[in-house]
Each structure stands twice: as C-alpha cells, then as structure tokens.
C-alpha cells in the first residue's frame, strides 16, 4: 500500500472513531444534564410558604440541624416549610452581603457571631424582636447575648457556644488534669523524652488569647475603640510562645496540625483545642485521653475567646414572623437538648449549670465534661469582640506570635504589628467635595473621546485600512464578525474593570463608598521612608512580584518546550500516556494541589523533608525564611504551569511541515542546528501570545502564593495581587485600597506590555 493510501485509511479510521466517541459522549452528556430537570420535576414541593435558611454546617452538625428543620416542618405542615441551603463557610459572608441588601438572600441564616459587626454595617441582619428569643435575657449565660448584640441592638439568638478547653493524656498525666500551667510545666521531668508537656497553636492569636486575656490584655480601649492589642500587659504576653518553646515546654513547631499529630501519637501531655475536635489515632484506640477546663496561669484562671453560634433573621425576609418563629425554635429548649445529646454542644441557659460550672443534667459524661470546661472558659474569657475592626487584628497578632515562636525579635515584630494596625486604623480620609468626582469623570470622558478620535484618524490614514474602505462590503462584514466577541468583552469584562478602577478613588467606610481622590494612591506610593522597602509595602511587593514572574515564566517555558520536544519524535512509545501524565498538574484543580504542596513542604511531616533527610533536611522549616518560602512557591507554580506551555508548544510543533525539516537534514544540518534554526523560529510566533498571557497570569497568580506560603514569613512572599486581596478582606475591608493596588498592578503590566512590544518591533 502506498503511504498516501495508508494515511487516507488512518484518517478515515480516525474520523469514524471520532464520530463514535462524539456520539457516545453526547448521549452520556445528555443523560447527565437531563438528570437534574427530571429529578426536580419528580420531587414534590411541600405546601405553604417557603422559609429559606442558609448555613455552613457539615457532618454531624448538619445532620442535627436538618433533623430539627424536619421536626419544625412537621409541626407547621401545610402552612410553611423550611428549606436549608448549605453554603461554603468562606463564601457565606460575601454571599449575604451581595444578596440581602438587594432584596435577595435567605429568610434566616446561622452564623458565628464574630462577623455581626460587618453584617450589620452592610445591612444584612434584621433586629430581633423579643419574641424570637426563646428564653428571657437573664436566663442566658453572661456574655452570650453581648455577642449577638451590636451597637446596642440585638440581632441574633444564641444556639450554642464554643470555647477552648484542655485535652490531656491520661497515661502521661496519671494524677489527672493539671490545675495550673506551672504544674504542667513541672511534669516535664516525668515525661519520656520526645514528649512535650503542652502543645497548642502558639502561632495563632485565637489560641494564644487565653494567655493574652489572663495577662490583662484588651483588644480595644473601652472608651474609643482604639486598638490596644499590642500595648501594655497584653503585648508582653506575646513573648510567652518563645519562652515556652525555648524551655522545651512547647514542641519546636507549635502549630495546629502538629499539636494534633503529637497528641494523637501520645507525645503531648496536654493540648488546647476546641469542642469540634475528637482525638483519633493511637490515643483514641487506647482511650487514654480526657477533657478538662483550662488550667490557671500565674495565679489567674484561663479563659478563651468564645464563639457564639447564632441564628439571625435577614433584612430581606418577606415573612418576618415565620422567620422569627424558626429562630426561636432553633435556639429553644428542644434544639438545645438535641445539640447537647447528639453533638455534645453546651446549652446556653445558665440554669442548666451548677455552682462549679458543671452541668446538672449529666456531669460525668464526656459531653458533660466538655460543657463544664467550656462554661468555665466562657466565665474566665470573653466572647470574641464583634466589632467591624476585629477582623484586622488576627493577622498582625499571628505574625507577632510566629516571630516569637521562631525566636525572632519580638519587639520589632510588635512594632511592625502596631504599624500594620495604624494603617488600618487611620481615620477615613476626608471626603472630597461631591462635585469633584463628577468633574473628574467628565474630564476623563473628554480625554478618552479625544484620544479615540485621534486614533481613528491615524488608523484611517494607513494604507491597508484605506484599501478596505474601497471594498465596502468587507468593512461592514468586519463589523459583523467582530461584534459578538467585542461587545461581550466591553460590556461584561471591561466595564467591571473600569468601575473597579474608579473604585480606587473611593474608600469603603461604614458601609458606604466615600470619594477620596488620589489619597489611596498617595498612601500606597508614598509610605514613610523607613517602611518603604519592607514587607507589606508596595515597592517590596513589586520587587517580589517581578522576580516571581521572571523566574516562573523562564522555568515554565524551558520545561514546557523541552518536554514537548522530547514527546515529538514518533518513535517514542507511550507518548499518549506521557502526555496525559504530564498534563495532570493542569487538569487537577489547583486548590487541592497547592494545598498538597504546602503539606509536602511541612517541616515535621512533609514529604520533601522526608525525601531530603539524607541531606540533613529533617525538621527544616521552609516557610521561616524568604528564600526558601519563595522557592516553595516557585516549585509549586512551576509544577502547575509548565503543562500549559508544553501543550501550546505541542500544538505549534504539529504545524511544522515535515518537508522543511527534511530539507534541512538533507542540507547536512545537525540536530542542534535544526532545533535552533528551524524548529524554534517556527514555533515562536505561536508561543509569543502564550508567553505574554502566561506572564500576565503569573504576575497575578494569587492561589499559589496565598495557599502555599501564605505570604510567610511575615508577608514577605506576598505578591502585589495577594496584598490587594488582604487589603480587601483581611485588613478591615479597605476595598478602595485594594482597587488602587489593582490599578497599579494594571499600570505596571501595561508598561511591561509596551516595552515588550517595542522590543519585538526592534527585532523585526
């Protein structure tokens, strides 16, 4: 058979295989897509009014909630029914803020109380009438109602509360739980080597809070809501992590997962954790654990920040009476009992507790002991402040604790943290006059129109455009072809960009946008000189971002092109298999793989350290220094990014005609010469758009930096886009600031685009 006939046969077979595949795929797809309408059509809709409940609960808590809802539905059958919607925890607040103020959203929602300030500011919850509270105010445990009250108005009904307590190892502490931390420290002498008296997440302010509060620390000054978290005795308490770690009381890496690992392996005498935790592993198998209230420290009893899980009615509900009835039910007697029996969650009525905080109903069961421990934690601690500014405290405080645990300079860390808070705390810039934005907008529109007209005139003078005008119908045809994509882009992509850019001249204060002109840019671009080149400043982040982009693109390109070339020769067997394997990093969602890489770089149990242990890498803390944390991000992003370049190169290589290559072989070119002078130049035009786009995406690659290094150490590995994110969501909702950062990112990339174009033109 001739080669042409064989090829024609192969093409026919391919077409037939393709057809079969397409038909099967289409049928399967149809089946899957029609599944939903069929199921919906065949499920009955209950009669009565619909009350929508949004929550973020999972597992056993969700099951208990659904059981309660079903009971409520049975009680009210015919009049109304409750329909729950499960919302991912991280999206709930945004979802509420985006929907409720505009009339959408749920009737009732369940949320921990600490976001209440922000939710009230954005007009989400509806003030609760006394009817919705199932028990009288005095019946609630002290402090719980404060959590669900904001600006003097009650918004939510407490369902339960969660506080930190002590889990202890009954084998390592045969005399029972320690009454004081000092006692626990003393037990170090009786513990086997490799075990630690105490393990808790000493890098998290939430877990450190018991010590902070016992030392007399206060997050806000009582009088004016000024931040006082890094002042006074509270600030001193931050040094404790470092001290305890240096004394060998805390393990070398005092983090949450490490704490659980040590405890479950029987290597920690006591840990501080919350009621959501049930020990697993060896300690669970041998049942050698117990729960107890937090011990005292330096003579003062310890209590934690307490989270109140509460039910709220939303402003947009059209059935307020029914919604409140649901809230009262979910917070009421029956629900309290169910939660306690099923989930060991403590009830909220103070009458259920005796003098010593124990639950009168069942003090000796695990649930009873948990309740007692949490009750005492509440008594000695406080409900987490629900102020709108509380959100800005966590990260700076965590950073100070991390510095302390790592043995770095705590005073410098405190200074940094105070500065970070000061930037959040600055009184909102004075609103400029209302006429100014209007005038500015008019000027911009005028400028835009002038530039546009000038550009049109220049283009029209160009020879090829002039020619096409003469061939009339082609010009109109162009419009038809361009219209769909261009219109879609302008309306749904560019308009939001323009609006977001405009947002940079406003600041989001107390739920409203206030015009501040260029103040945001001034703050970002002109920081105090001594801070201008440190982490968290614009210039530092810019430098890190540029380095990040350059290295990544280089690596992606090199690896992608090299692997594509390796996969090119037809004699390579299992080519398809290799291609599938090598494209997996791209195919699997990067939120799981980025987290897996983070886990692999973990100092204690990470696979990377295990692999490199012959080289002495055991216990190496990758995220403790800029270079190694940056490296970890780089490795992860390279792993994620090279398949794209590889696939693009493979595509480009297929269009290289064989004859050209064969001609060069006949001319006597060596393999290397062929590569450099024939193959690479041919694929370059196809690669250039991908390289440009790839650089832009890498510049703005938020996921990897946020998930892998998390900006560690101390925001040093944060790139510009993750800084923008933090300003929007972690430092007090400074959306205008984040928008200003975005505009600067954009300006920088435009400049870069200009420079590369000029370079390309000069080359050509």
């Amino acid at each position: 058979m001739t080669e042409a006939a064989r090829a024609a046969d192969a093409a026919r077979a391919l077409r037939r295989r393709t057809r079969i595949f397409l038909v099967t795929a289409a049928l399967a797809l149809l089946a899957v897509i029609l599944f939903r309408p069929i199921v919906i059509a065949t499920s009955p809709v209950p009669p009565g009014r619909r009350i929508v409940l949004w929550h973020s609960q999972r597992g056993a808590e969700k099951d208990a909630l659904e059981e309660l809802i079903r009971a409520f539905n049975v009680d009210h059958a015919g009049e109304l029914y409750v329909e729950p919607l499960n919302v991912p925890d991280g999206s709930m607040k945004d979802k509420l803020i985006r929907t409720v103020p505009r009339g959408g959203g749920p009737d009732v929602f369940i949320r921990p109380h600490n976001e209440l300030g922000e939710l009230v500011r954005d007009g989400v919850p509806r003030p609760l009438s006394p009817a919705a509270l199932p028990f009288g105010e005095a019946e609630y445990l002290p402090g719980l109602l404060d959590g669900t009250t904001f600006a003097g108005v009650r918004h939510g009904a407490p369902l339960t509360y969660k506080a930190l307590l002590l889990f202890y190892n009954t084998r390592l502490l045969p005399d029972g739980p320690p009454a004081t931390i000092e006692e626990l420290i003393q037990s170090r002498s009786t513990l086997p080597s490799g075990s630690y008296p105490l393990a808790y997440d000493a890098t998290s302010f939430f877990f450190h809070a018991p010590f902070f509060l016992a030392a007399g620390g206060q997050v806000f000054a009582a009088s004016d809501e000024r931040f006082t978290v890094f002042e006074g005795p509270g600030a001193e308490s931050f040094r404790l992590s470092g001290r305890l770690r240096a004394d060998g009381v805390l393990p070398p890496e005092p983090t949450y997962n490490e704490m659980l690992r040590l405890f479950e392996g029987g290597q920690a005498a006591a840990i501080v954790c919350g009621p959501w935790y049930t020990p697993q592993g060896t300690i669970a198998a041998s049942k050698e654990w117990g729960v107890a209230p937090l011990p005292s420290f330096e003579g003062r009893p310890l209590g934690s920040f307490v989270t109140v899980e509460a039910a709220f009615v939303s402003q947009s509900t059209t059935h307020p009476a029914e919604a409140e009835a649901l809230v009262a039910f979910l917070a009421g007697e029956r629900a309290q009992s169910l939660r306690f029996e099923r989930l060991a969650l403590p009830p909220v009525q103070s009458s259920m507790y005796g003098q010593g905080g124990e639950l009168e109903a069942s003090s000796s069961t695990l649930a009873g002991k948990l309740a007692r421990a949490e009750r005492l934690s509440l008594e000695h601690g406080q409900v987490t402040p629900n102020s709108t500014r509380m959100g800005a405290v966590w990260r700076p405080a965590d950073d100070v604790l991390k510095a302390s645990s790592a043995g770095r300079d705590v005073d410098a860390a405190l200074e940094d943290a105070r500065y970070a808070l000061a930037r959040v705390q600055t009184a909102a810039p004075p609103a400029r006059g209302p006429a100014l934005p209007g005038v500015l907008l008019a000027c911009l529109l005028l400028l835009g129109t002038v530039l546009l007209v000038r550009q049109v005139r220049t283009d029209m003078a160009a020879p090829d455009v002039a020619r096409s005008r003469l061939v009339g119908s082609w010009g109109r045809a162009a419009l038809a072809y361009l219209a769909p994509g261009v219109v879609a882009t302008f309306v749904l992509v560019l308009t939001p960009v323009v609006v977001a850019a405009g947002m940079s001249m406003f600041e989001y204060v107390e739920g409203r946008f206030v015009f501040v002109g260029l103040d945001n840019f001034r703050d970002i671009l002109l920081p105090p000189l001594d801070r201008a080149f440190e982490a968290r400043s614009f210039y530092f982040a810019l430098g890190v971002t540029v380095l990040w982009t350059l290295l990544n693109v280089l690596l992606h390109l090199t690896l992608g092109v090299a692997l594509a070339l390796l996969l090119r020769p037809t004699w390579v067997r299992f080519r398809t298999g290799y291609r599938i394997l090598l494209v997996l990093p791209w195919a699997i969602p990067n939120y799981i793989t980025a987290l897996m890489w983070k886990g692999m770089f973990n100092a204690q149990v990470g696979a990377i350290n295990a692999l490199l242990s012959p080289f002495g890498f055991e216990g190496f803390a990758w995220f403790d220094s800029f270079g190694t944390a940056f490296f970890a991000n780089l490795v992860t992003n390279t792993w994620l990014g090279f398949p794209f370049m590889m696939v693009v190169t493979l595509g480009a290589l297929t269009s290289l005609p064989k004859e050209v290559e064969e001609a060069s072989i006949l001319d006597g070119a060596s393999r290397w010469q062929r590569l450099v002078h024939v193959v690479l130049p041919h694929i370059r035009p196809a690669l250039v758009p991908s390289i440009i786009l790839g650089s832009v995406w890498t510049f703005n690659m938020f996921n990897v930096v946020y998930l892998v290094s998390g900006g560690e150490p101390g925001s040093q590995t944060d790139i510009l886009v993750s800084e923008a994110y933090r300003w929007a969501f972690e430092r007090g909702q400074r959306f205008g600031y984040a928008a200003a950062y975005s505009v600067l990112i954009f300006a920088f990339l435009v400049l870069y685009g200009r420079m590369t174009r000029r370079a390309a033109k000069e080359e050509a």
């Binding site: 042409a4 090829a7 391919l14 199921v39 499920s43 973020s56 999972r58 919607l85 999206s91 945004d94 979802k95 969660k162 049109v456 029209m460 090829d464 096409s468 010009g475 162009a478 419009l479 072809y481 219209a483 769909p484 994509g485 879609a488 882009t489 302008f490 749904l492 992509v493 560019l494 939001p496 960009v497 977001a500 692997l563 390796l566 020769p569 390579v572 398809t576 997996l584 990093p585 699997i588 990067n590 939120y591 799981i592 793989t593 897996m596 149990v605 696979a607 696939v647 297929t654 269009s655 758009p689 786009l693 832009v696 886009v721 923008a724 929007a728 984040a738 928008a739 990339l749 685009g753």
Partner: protein, 282 residues
C-alpha cells in the same frame, strides 16, 4: 532516519523522571483520598497508604441533599452544562472576532486587540463586585444563564488572542486565491480557515472549559439553590471552618478532574493525529 539506542534510552529516562516528579504530589492526593481518617498524620517519603478506605469517595458521590436527592449527579450535570455551554458560546464568539481581527483592516484594530490583552491584566479580586452588580442589573443574578454568561465572556479576550495567533499563521495567499474564485468571507472563514486551525480551537476550548469547570468563588456567591450548584462549590464546603474534611476534599478533587482529563485526551489526539494526516496530504 536511524535512531541511536542511546538516544531512545535517554529520552525515555528524561520523560520518566519528569513524569515521576509530576505525579508525585498527585499520589499524595490519592493517598489522602483513600485514607480512612481523612487526615495525613503519618507520612514519609513515599505516598504508600497504610490502610485504604473508599469512604471519602462514597461520601462525596452518594451525598444527598435535604430532600434525599442524589445531589452529586445533579451537580455534575450542572458543572458539565455550565462549563460546556460557556465554552461553546465563548469559543464561537472568540472565533468570529479573531477572524475579524486577523483578516480585516479597520480603524482601532490595534486598540481593540490591546484592550483584549489589557482586560486580562486587571486582578479579578476587585472586578468581581462590579460584575455581580451588573448581572443583578440585567436581572440574571442567581440564574444558571447568568453564570454561563460570566464564564463565557471572561474567557473571550484570552480566546481571541490565542485564536488570532493561529489565524495569523495561515498565509493570506490562501484567502486571496479563494476570493479570486469568488468565495465570500464567510466561506473563507468556515470552509477554509476553520478546518486548518482545529488544533488551536481544541486548545482554546480546553482552556475555557477548564477555567469554567474548576471555578468556585463566583459560583458559590452567585447561586442560591443547591440543585443549581456546580461541583466545586460542594467541594469547598468540605473544608473551611474549624474541622476541614481533607479526605473528601481530596477525593472530590480527583473525581472532578476526570472529565477534564477526558477532554484533554480527546483534544490532544485531534491535535496530533489529525494534523499529521493533513501534513502528508498537503
């Protein structure tokens, strides 16, 4: 052309090393998905599981909603529908515009192309808010159609750029000779150019599909009915809060990747084998 055995060995070695390095983290995800406790407490250098349990997978696949309906399959359908529709719409729009940009001369052409590129440069963190406002103004908030529109239009600029590049590679002479034969621009577009850039279309479609399919941030804020959720939204529910369920997260992510790998498998065969047949003929 003779191939030296040493070369074969070296190439295979390089590919094996690369594949192993690439698949290593994936194996850890698999181990996490198969672990009975849903946590990776013991570990070493090799992701070999001590105990294997499929309960994370079954928990994800056989999940039921409040009314006892098999929610995984419903949401799988949603994911495929939304991503598929967004890809088709986006690629069609982009193809048409890319043809216009590549083959026609008109004022503001370069400005338009730059605008496409510039739209990619603005971080999505802040554009999400105005976009949601816009959709609400259009009355599409919370609808599947609205989500499809968001995904389709956000992939258009990138697709236009990529496809224009593929169009540009084909010489203008082809157009000219067809025009001399009396072909209209539509005929040139559909009969002559489109078949030649099939690999480009495949690649662009794959990319659009993947971005839409894996996206969860917009979807979780936008959709308010559990029967309209896409799979990534439910996946995100298993983590977050105090006690994340990593096992289900890992299992779900692996299951989620299967359609993408399938689409890639199909596209890459089209890309490579379709083209070599054409090259010999030409």
């Amino acid at each position: 052309m003779k191939v030296r055995p040493l070369e074969v060995v070296l190439v295979h070695l390089a590919l094996l090393v690369a594949s192993t390095a690439v698949i290593y983290p994936v194996l850890w995800v698999v181990r996490l998905a198969l672990s009975p406790s849903g946590r990776l407490t013991e570990s070493g250098a090799l992701p070999i599981p001590d105990e294997v349990s499929l309960h994370s997978f079954s928990e994800f696949v056989f999940a039921q909603d409040f009314y006892g309906r098999p929610i995984f399959f419903i949401q799988l359908g949603n994911s495929l529908l939304v991503s598929g529709a967004a890809t088709i719409i986006g690629v069609v729009f982009a193809l048409s515009s890319a043809y216009g940009f590549s083959r026609f001369a008109f004022p503001l052409k370069n400005a338009g192309l730059r605008a496409m590129l510039l739209s990619q440069m603005f971080p999505a963190v802040v554009t999400a808010v105005p976009l949601l406002f816009l959709l609400d103004a259009l009355g599409l908030f919370g609808t599947t159609a609205g989500l499809v529109l968001i995904y389709a239009t956000s992939s258009v600029p990138f697709s236009i750029w990529m496809l224009k590049g593929y169009f540009d590679v084909i010489p203008r002479d082809l157009d000219e000779s067809a025009r001399l034969d009396g072909a209209s621009s539509w005929i040139i577009f559909t009969r002559i150019l489109l078949p030649l850039i099939r690999p480009g279309i495949g690649l662009t479609a794959l990319f659009s599909f993947m971005s839409a399919y894996n996206e969860f941030i917009m979807a979780s804020v936008f959709l308010d009915d559990v029967t309209r959720y896409t799979l990534p939204v439910t996946l995100q529910q298993s983590v977050g809060g105090f006690d994340p369920n990593w096992g289900v997260f890992a299992a779900g992510s692996l299951l989620l990747s299967i359609p993408v790998v399938a689409v890639f498998f199909f596209v890459q065969r089209q890309m490579v084998e379709g083209m070599t047949a054409g090259a010999v003929k030409g």
